[in-house]
Amino acid sequence: MINKQTLTKREIVLLITKKLNISKIQCIFLVNQVFEKMKNCLIKNEKIQISGFGKFVIRKKNIRKGRNPQTGKLIEISARKIVTFKSSPLLRRLIEKQNIKN
């Protein structure tokens, strides 16, 4: 579900090129690399902490039993690592407040 209001890398690139004197091609490259480096960091089991935004933490999930919701069949869900996002108190306050205004 992508609409005009959804923020994607394309919109981020436009915002950056409006403010900084760098070419669009270079900027696309830069934005891609920022998210690529963040991914690489998480893959290496290292957490990411962005002040004012939040942190990305890796959690290990044990093997567990689950059901296929469509067939009801019992299946085993393998042990895995997941990324969770813990928003910073600042971001939470901003979002909460905005909602009261609406």
Binding site: L7, T8, K19, M38, I58, K81, T84, N102
Partner: protein, 92 residues
């Protein structure tokens, strides 16, 4: 990894940009994400993940120190779902 470490890694790779430009670019990335969530809009970064806001119903909670019952009103909270590529690369 902290924001300034991310900035350094990127600055080392893009040595034709000034450190200040890299710093501002990264600042714009996160600021634009914050203002998008503030407007209750969605963020989608292919391969990395997406961010949305979700409604939390009002609930009764307790002050953990005093045990007094408090009412927590309805609110919106940020929510992250990791992208397919990230999920797959994490578990390889």
């Amino acid at each position: 990894m902290l924001k300034r470490e991310l900035t350094k890694i990127i600055a080392d790779e893009f040595n034709y940009f000034s450190y200040e430009d890299i710093e501002s670019a990264i600042q714009i990335i996160f600021e634009s994400m914050i203002s998008t969530l503030k407007r209750n809009n969605r963020i989608e970064v292919r391969g990395f993940g997406s961010f949305t806001t979700r409604r939390r119903k009002p609930k009764k909670a307790r002050n953990p120190k005093t045990g007094a019952s408090v009412l927590v009103s309805e609110k919106m909270v940020p929510f992250f779902v990791s992208g397919k590529e990230l999920r797959e690369r994490m578990n390889k």
